[in-house]
Symmetry: C2
Subunit: 453 residues, 2 copies
């Protein structure tokens, strides 16, 4: 299968950028190696649906090798890239080095705590399927613990959810949580009332969805308020501990804290050896290559590039997708030319991002859409959001499953994937589960006793 005469393109990362680069290159006369730490591609825009029990992980993920089954020139390796030998044109993994003629690094970004890594155990972020399952576990467990504690006569059980960060992820998490409390969980508890859950969204800047035009930002705020979310803008989080978030010197009790505030580029960016910006993103040339290395491209969330107006391209899926396709086309063309005559890296075009608009969802029938001059809010924006997300989801099977679940949820208000798996411990819960199972303080009291007298 492998042949030295056929050039090899190595792609690190199978997110939106890497996947689209590989797909666009797969028909060219090249050998492609796609390396990812995971065996599946995650459709990140729907991760919050997994975190809020609306979808199962299997429905928003696709095995990378299934995607490339028909392309015999694409090899998929599930491996951790540990570094690069740029001079020797090699990618380093624990099993060995992989030689390349062209390298596309699309390793993405993760959430960051801005020097407060100690907050992580109390405030999980949302970048991977594992993150989503952890958030789901905490949210669902909070209701179960509250029901249990209240049934035992202790009415002090807290139900305060705090979401830190008012970007698209924070807004959709806060909105969907509010929707669950008000609808999905009503009539299911006997001792607590989930609708009384207090949801706070904290944003450091003056408005939510800061990347959107002012009117849509205001509309998002109104839609959040209508769902019952308390939004605190221009508020800085100074400390997070078990059971509480500090906004300035104000202590906000928090049964569950979700982190949607910071993003940092993959550490692989720094290992390339090229200049990076403060967020760790590689400062790429207009053709997305690394200065001095026309054979090395960085795309997606890991790349820092400004558009014609001098504005930094946002870390969103459409940018990564277009960059992946751009680089693939560029490589294909150069390889064809190389076979015909000589190659020139000098005549490369610059990447141009075609912004088709932005969509952010807030909750059931609540969203905002920015199509340049046209701004839409509410139900129509939400429909546009649904359509786009089902359309771009990988795999026909996933599209059917997600469509059915959304239709089902829309008419029944139910959330299908409400499973608490793994640990049953929640940091900072007022009645510590581990302590109470050893002591007899609680075990000796009688549940329902109050109502018996």
């Amino acid at each position: 299968m492998t042949d030295k005469t056929i050039p090899r393109v190595v792609i690190v990362g199978a997110g939106f950028g890497g996947l689209n680069a590989a797909r666009a290159l797969a028909k060219a006369d090249v050998q492609i190696t796609v390396i990812d730490r995971k065996n599946f591609h995650t459709f990140q825009p729907l991760l919050y649906q997994v975190a809020t029990a609306g979808l199962s992980p299997g429905e928003i993920a696709a095995p990378i090798r299934s995607i490339f089954r028909a392309h015999k020139n694409v090899e998929v390796l599930m491996a951790e890239v540990t570094g690069f030998d740029i001079a020797g044109r090699m990618v380093e993994t624990p099993e060995g080095k992989i030689a390349y003629d062209y390298l596309i690094v699309a390793a993405g970004a993760s959430h960051a705590y801005f020097g407060h890594d100690d907050w992580e155990p109390y405030a999980p972020g949302l970048k991977t399927v594992e993150d989503a399952l952890e958030i789901r576990r905490r949210v669902l467990l909070a209701f179960e613990l509250a029901e249990r504690q209240t049934a035992a006569g202790d009415t002090s059980a807290p139900l305060n959810f705090v979401v830190v960060g008012g970007g698209p992820t924070g807004v959709e998490l806060a909105g969907t949580l509010a929707e669950i409390c008000r609808h999905a969980l009503t009539h299911e508890f006997r001792s607590i009332d989930p609708a009384r859950t207090h949801i706070v969204l904290i944003e450091g800047g003056p408005r939510v969805l800061a990347a959107y035009p002012d009117d849509l930002s205001r509309s998002a705020l109104e839609q959040l308020n209508r769902l019952g979310v308390e939004v605190r803008t221009s508020t800085t989080v100074t400390q997070i501990e078990a059971g509480a978030v500090y906004a300035g010197s104000t202590r906000l009790p928090a049964t569950v804290v979700l982190w949607a505030a910071g993003v940092a580029a993959s550490p692989l960016g720094k290992k390339i050896g090229a200049p990076t910006d403060r967020a760790g993103r590689v400062l790429v040339q207009p053709d997305l290559s690394v200065p001095g290395h026309p054979e090395l491209f960085v795309i997606g969330d890991l790349a820092a590039l400004k558009d014609e107006k001098g504005k930094m391209l946002p870390g969103v899926a459409p940018v990564a997708i277009q960059q992946g396709r751009f680089v693939a086309k560029l490589i294909s063309r150069e390889l064809s030319n190389a076979r015909a005559a000589s190659v020139s890296h000098l005549s490369r075009p610059a990447f141009h991002y075609w912004d088709k608009g932005s969509l952010a969802t807030i909750g059931r029938a609540a969203a905002v859409a920015d199509f340049g001059k046209i701004h839409i809010s509410g139900f129509m924006a939400w429909l546009a959001w649904l359509f786009v997300h089902i359309f771009f989801l990988i795999g026909f099977r996933n599209r059917i499953l997600v469509f059915i679940q959304w239709a089902w949820s829309y008419f029944t208000y139910e959330r299908g994937a409400r499973l608490i798996t793994g640990s049953t411990y929640l940091p900072g819960w007022t009645v510590d589960q581990r302590a109470s199972s050893r002591s007899t303080d609680h075990a000796s009291q009688e549940i329902h006793a109050a109502s018996r007298k």
Copy 2:
């Protein structure tokens, strides 16, 4: 909501037995408390589909409180039952005691290693959603590691799966694994050939599916062989360690070992204080009550009861379902009588199991069905199995989703939920992942180097 004048029935466990007892009782004038360690009911007959990446956990599980949403007299508590105060008629939990007038213990069974608990890390069993995800992780990871190691030029990567136990779970696991290797994964790997995976099923007794008639047992063996499974009957496993299973003194290399051999009743059985059998099951009266305690019932896998012919009732879903309904009816009737006149526990009927037949699936279009005088094998038995399992699945939404996925898998041979989440470590893998990421032994070699020379 709670009122002392209305009697309280406490049900421990929301498996098939507990769930059906609660459902049948929900219309009676009683208060019901359902206690389970999990917040969801697991449809155990399809757990192997989660373990083999055919379905997602959310598709075979239903939140317990959703099931009882419409029944205001049913309270659901996610809690660990720690013991019983039988004399005081109380169930003990870490939060407190729960008083009952009637108690139904339906805590089920788990897998057991017959005194070899040290085998567990190397041979996970299949009783919970967490177990299923761990098995899925190991099976899928084995292929990924083998591909990686073979791409790096080391063709010694092992792919041997050993399933211990030839009952229904062992047979369906071995059959489905064979199906995956032969169909779902073909054309997806470039260095290994999944179809060459060696699958061994080890059974201590003389035949697989020992509970079935001899001809069906033989048919199952043939169907397994046709799928490429090597079946070793009358073979005792003497040792399991990282990477190997010992059958007598023969060492069988094993990349992944799955345990489907032993079942032990929940430890809660012993805490009731009544006599138990060797497997820890409570020896119940013909009316399923515990001797001397007409208010206390044990049902499902935790109960030991013989049928009219003196044969022990099997630990299968239909027995648990029928027992749950039987006990619910018995309690309802006694409570109605109690309001009219005096109660007599002496006139209780005996539980009678109505055996509608048994079904065991082996793989794609392969199954056996035992309907008393009628024995069916192959495609028709498999269709019967599909129909019954979709019909009994909890939740209309789950039924649609599972049906679609099965139809999809049947025509495309694909498995939808192929996600490796969590750790990327496999015990006993020949190239230890943790070691190799530290050493430079492997890191210095070149992947694809062989093909370049």
